[in-house]
């Protein structure tokens, strides 16, 4: 097997806030294989956006690298000089952000922005062809439009077209459909997935929408407290979750309940780490925790065909507390 496209090893990133440092990533490790679609799920504050942006070193100035490495297509991202970093961003990476209206320059016509993303001196045909690949109807009209003249779905397709303009090896999509209408989310997502398949690139989706991930990703990484707590094939993780957090997350999502049943929210709030967590970060909210969970940091182990960061993974399976979620 070839080397992974992205190799994140023990990444620790903190944000300088007044008088203290908040730890966003607490030794996160993850590999992205070539040509796969990997979803990173987690609630706000779980560190998933930090992890995604770290792949292009697109972090705000308050962010501090404390430990670990992140290698993308052979480039050590955190140590690369400016020229190497620019080359990596330009040739190997494509980003799709949550809100297309802020990702596009409001003062520039779409055609010009897409041409810039393509590089060189592309003719209008090349630009229109790229927009057509992103399934934008009537590309000639879109070329001449300003961003505010497009609907959210169209604008996001333009952003996707710009992200794939230079055939990147890695596409990172941060909540790509969260700001869009429910009725077009699925179509935009299908476009993104189709373009990934055509180009053979890897796609990393950052999302908290479990149903969306269930339909489109090959593998899923569940993040909590700045770490990846469960990592495996989508079918395995979402239909037979092992980590208590993954299970609680699935139980809390509307959509799988029977009529009249009650959703079970996760009690408590996500942790705000100020240093390395020397226990299981989820233990305070976990209904399955024991004394050990509060005193010893769990490490990633392979359980039931996926990686799990939980002391009690085997017991959790054995007690049958794990109810397979109904596939929709």
């Amino acid at each position: 097997m070839s080397a992974p496209l992205v190799d994140i090893a023990g990444l620790v990133i903190g944000y300088d806030a007044a008088a203290r440092q908040v730890r966003a990533l607490d030794s996160a490790s993850l590999q992205v294989r070539e040509g796969e679609t990997l979803a990173i799920v987690g609630e706000s504050g779980s560190g998933k956006t930090t992890l995604g942006m770290a792949a292009g070193r697109l972090l705000p100035p308050e962010a501090q690298l404390l430990d670990g490495t992140i290698t993308v297509a052979g480039v050590d991202v955190m140590q690369a000089d400016d020229a190497a970093l620019r080359r990596l961003r330009r040739e190997k990476l494509g980003f799709v952000f949550q809100n297309p209206s802020t990702a596009l320059d409001p003062t520039m016509r779409i055609g010009r922005q897409v041409a810039l993303a393509l590089g060189g001196q592309p003719g209008p045909e090349a630009v229109a062809a790229l927009l057509a690949r992103a399934e934008l109807g009537d590309p000639e009209r879109v070329l001449r439009a300003f961003p505010h003249e497009l609907s959210g779905g169209m604008a996001q397709r333009v952003v996707i077209a710009m992200a794939i303009a230079r055939a990147p090896q890695l596409l990172i999509a941060d909540e790509p459909t969260a700001s869009l209408d429910a009725s077009i989310r699925e179509k935009v997502m299908a476009t993104l997935v189709r373009l990934r398949a055509e180009s053979g690139a890897s796609l990393v989706i950052l999302s908290h929408d479990l149903r969306l991930i269930g339909r489109h990703a090959d593998r899923v990484a569940v993040m909590y407290g700045g770490r990846i707590v469960e990592l495996g094939a989508v079918a395995q993780v979402l239909q037979a979750p092992v980590h208590p957090y993954t299970r609680a997350l699935l139980a809390a999502a509307a959509g799988n309940e029977v009529p009249g049943a009650r959703l079970e929210p996760i009690q408590g709030t996500p942790p705000m780490l100020e240093g390395r967590c020397e226990a299981c970060a989820y233990a305070p909210r976990c209904t399955f925790s024991v004394a050990r969970c509060n005193s010893e940091r769990p490490e990633a182990r392979e359980v039931a065909g996926r990686l799990v960061v939980c002391h009690r993974a085997e017991e959790a399976i054995a007690t049958g507390a794990m109810q397979p979620q109904e596939a929709r």
Binding site: S183, I184, R211, A252, E264
Partner: protein
């Protein structure tokens, strides 16, 4: 029989662009909708379908171009005559509260407008904060110090503080994380059992809507294309558009 909390009869809202005539566009076309006390009606549809416009009509913020609108059996009248009788919870927890006001001040504003004396107001604010699961000390905090879920609870407390007969929830949980969504959805269900208000729950998320609603109306291009008990939306709804929404959910 108790009259409906709100009853819309054949409501049409027409927007005109340009001077004198110009092009006209019907945001709502012949919409009829009733909400009974203690009932939640879900309103789903894509954006541009008119569901937010319908919400604004129900709140008295937008006068309909045509059609009848009754509140508790009487003509709707002006918003000032309805002080304390209806309220709203909106999307974007970060915009729900005035960032310069302490949460207690925000929550008691509807009471100030109905003229309740300040000694009673303080008691009522503490009581309602308890009901939405927050400590009374939250009254002294500024919204900037709160999480999204906490802010949405404050917004719900503000909506409930006058014991209104009708509340509109416009995308009230859409911006929240999955686990927080579940907390807020449960809170809405529990509070409705307790207070018996009628509610309109507007959302593009069918899964969340059917969880809190008794009945669901599906909007498409300014019209209600299906209106039925929410149990139907766990199975196979009649209208093809409803089925498409279900597929996306």
């Amino acid at each position: 029989m108790e009259p409906d909390v709100i009853a819309l009869e054949d409501i049409t809202v027409t927007y005109r662009s340009g001077f004198l005539g110009g092009t006209a566009f019907d945001a709502l076309r012949g919409v009829s909708l009733r909400v009974k006390a203690g009932e939640t009606v879900g309103l789903v549809g894509e954006s541009g379908s008119g569901k937010t416009t319908l919400g604004r009509v129900c709140l008295g913020l937008l006068p309909p171009t045509q059609g009848q609108m009754r509140f508790g059996g009487a003509p709707f009248g002006k918003l000032r005559q309805r002080r304390g009788q209806l309220s709203v919870v909106l999307q974007h927890p970060e915009w729900a509260l005035n960032p310069r006001l302490r949460c207690g001040t925000s929550v008691q504003e509807p009471l100030v407008l109905t003229g309740m004396p300040s000694s009673e107001r303080r008691e009522r604010v503490a009581e309602i904060l308890g009901q939405v699961g927050l400590d009374p000390s939250f009254a002294a905090r500024l919204p900037g110090q709160l999480s999204g879920g906490q802010r949405q609870r404050i917004a719900i407390a503000r909506a409930l503080v006058t014991n209104p007969r009708f509340i509109v929830f416009d995308e009230a949980v859409s911006a929240l994380d999955v686990s927080v969504q579940a907390q807020v959805l449960n809170l809405i269900r529990d509070l409705q059992k307790r207070h018996g208000f009628g509610a309109l729950f507007i959302s593009h998320d069918l899964a969340a809507t059917r969880y809190v609603s008794h009945r669901i109306a599906v909007m498409l291009r300014g019209e209600i294309v299906e209106d039925g008990p929410s149990a139907r939306f766990y199975g196979t709804p009649e209208h093809p558009y409803s089925r498409a929404l279900l597929g996306a959910a």
